[in-house]
Subunit: 416 residues, 2 copies
């Protein structure tokens, strides 16, 4: 019953090589930061490939790039597949590019055999997923989901000083063949293929991760104030040592947060001490906590636990603790219908899969707020990403694209 269709693995791998040349770094990675000349060049190449196959191309005001293959019913909301083409300054060849090029490969494969769905299919390359040149990341999908470009971005400048709006304009103008469309429009679903950026699929020898959501992330900043004093002359009973308080607060949190619930991510990434002298009891300690979990209620409860631990430890040390949220991104839960499509697709292909959460943000997070969304992960070597040494076995790239094709078929052809 399934139409005999497969992707062209050789073509996909060649495309990955071709795109890796745009912004290639000597160490084998890519530097293709958002809205840069290299980003524009990669978008032009994709647009040329699309136009050469007769697909229409569109841009919205955020320079999100869409390639459209028409459906039987052009007025239906399109189904979307894709990812991003921009990279970190010392990024890898697969982060974003694999998902975008595999999506285009899916579209070409459908075109190759002439399978038409009721709904239009669109490949998307979202603008500035990485957020390294212009912060924040996932700008394109964020604005798409919001239907507007936030006012705050008007004055934005890149790390290189470049004005965001000018670079955005230049990027839009670099693709005169693309038709303009408004920001945000109804879509019937979205699937994004991406490298895992973690080690679990590789270690468990599983080629496909079926991603059922993106965990919520909350950043906390804890400040503990005590009294700086002489390390030699100040006996324990006279100390108000915020470092001792921080250690006393954090030890039980490290011992309990992650060990008790495998869904928790608890990371202290910044830690600053004042005055910072070998022989001075600190007067001030500030640290950050990156807290993640799939459920907001759990994140709330963990934050309370952290606050209590810091308050109690600070009080016991004669110090005062302050905790503030500096960032909060609620969890995304992906569509059960689309996940079922992914399960069926994997079964059809006989692929071993693992249901998993994404620890990192992706454009799918924002798309999931306006449409059914899901993600497919493929293994990357040693879990390495945001690194020029990032590497995906050709076999895994091809399997990922086959999975994306099969899932797209499930979603828009077989279950339409």
């Amino acid at each position: 019953m399934t139409p005999r269709i497969n992707i062209d693995g050789k073509r996909l791998l060649q495309r990955l090589d071709d795109f890796a040349k745009i912004g290639a770094t000597p160490a084998g990675g890519v530097n293709r930061q958002a809205l840069s000349a290299e980003d524009q060049a990669s978008r032009r190449l994709l647009a040329e490939l699309a136009l050469a196959r007769g697909f229409r191309i569109f841009q919205d005001p955020m320079a999100n790039l869409f390639i459209r293959r028409e459906g039987r019913f052009p007025r239906r909301a399109p189904f979307m597949i894709g990812s991003h083409l921009d990279s970190q300054p010392t990024g890898g060849r697969f982060d974003g590019a694999l998902g975008t090029l595999a999506a285009f490969e899916v579209m070409e494969s459908l075109e190759d055999v002439g399978i038409k769905a009721d709904v239009p299919l669109e490949v998307v390359a979202w603008t500035n997923e990485e957020g390294s040149r212009f912060a924040p990341g996932t700008m394109g999908s964020m604005a798409f989901a919001a239907g507007a470009i936030p006012d705050a971005w008007s004055d934005l400048r890149g790390r290189d000083g470049a004005p965001f709006l000018e670079e955005l304009k230049a990027t839009l103008e670099a693709l005169p063949a693309a038709e303009m469309r408004p920001l945000g429009f109804p879509i019937s679903g979205y699937i994004e293929l991406h490298i895992e950026q973690g080690p679990s699929l590789e270690q468990e020898n599983t080629p496909i991760g079926i991603v059922y959501g993106i965990q919520g992330t909350r950043w906390l900043e804890v400040t503990i104030r005590g009294q700086a004093a002489h390390a030699g002359t100040t006996a324990l009973e006279f100390r108000r040592d915020p470092m001792a308080a921080a250690i006393a607060a954090l030890e039980p949190l490290y011992s309990s947060m992650m060990p008790r619930d495998p869904g928790v991510r608890f990371t202290v990434g910044r830690f600053a001490v004042e005055p910072g002298s070998v022989n001075a009891i600190p007067g001030l300690v500030t640290f950050t906590i990156d807290l993640r979990h799939p459920e907001t209620t759990v994140i709330d409860a963990l934050e309370n636990q952290i606050r209590r631990a810091c308050d109690n430890a600070a009080a016991a040390a004669g110090c005062r603790s302050e905790l503030t949220q500096i960032f909060d991104m609620p969890p995304a839960v992906f569509s059960e219908d689309l996940l079922a499509c992914l399960d069926r697709a994997a079964a059809t292909l006989g692929l071993k899969t693992k249901r998993m959460l994404s620890g990192a943000f992706h454009d799918a997070l924002f798309v999931s707020r306006v449409a059914p969304a899901a993600m497919i992960f493929v293994p990357c070597r040693d879990g390495l990403s945001h690194n020029e040494a990032e590497y995906v076995e050709p076999e895994h790239s091809v399997t990922g694209a086959r999975m994306l094709l099969a899932a797209t078929m499930e979603a828009i052809v077989l279950n339409a």
Copy 2:
């Protein structure tokens, strides 16, 4: 039997005021850093006072300044009292100055009533006790005890870029009336009066601390290396988190080191994390430990305990720990004979005393390596020092000087 003699409290307090004007800061402290114009001015004032009373003055090549009141037997090794005149950049009026001016007051009081001892008495103002402009501190007494200026100091420059040797030369030349003498010579004993720089005397309402030693200080630097990784995508089992290891190592050390032995001082004053991003598991954590105790064997044992704690915690977290000594100052134990003199002096004066250790270094530490030495502490408000708000009640300054006089009498007159 005791000659009726007392110090002139009013004269001492006036002198403290006069010296506090040299390098006075708007906030009421002093900035009289070693070998600066202000330091030279304070040395000139002390020299003038000494010459006006007919005392001879000497300098050695380290610009340690000596004021000599002759004894009945001029060839006997002199007994020495004093402290230092240099200050921190935002220092207080009493740290060093009190001990030096009280010593000079003792000498003047003996002169006032014509009490002569067998041994000569010398007041000393050691060069660069603070170590803030030129590091290390206690340079003058260190070189005196060693009998030589370390080669390493030849190229030394101050924080302000000033060459040490040039500033030393200028300071020596600023006192042409002083006779030169070699560095290091036999002395029969040394007593130094100093402010406590801690809160215990004030809190226990005790006017005099009899200091029986200076605790040993060892500085350790611990480096824990793990693997930097994404805070969101890296599950616990894949983490090699040096921050978690540092916390796990330090918590039991904070819980045991000081609580179990009141003689221990355990301080983590510096703590650095790389890469230091909110959403990155650190790859490297470095921290310092300032460890103090009166006994070297205990410090050795504590260092071993720290090393084991760090090694074990690092291993448990898949990290590697390295511990290095970056500074080591053995403890000083003061002379029982001189401490007995201090006890008798306090009994004679009817003063409540407390036997105590010094947590901070003092020039007496180095002098104690070549002669019997001891120290007297007086309370300072809130234990505050190295601070423009440093304050000593006039009554405590005068009591300290009376105690120094009585102890000097015990040492060189009554027990000669």
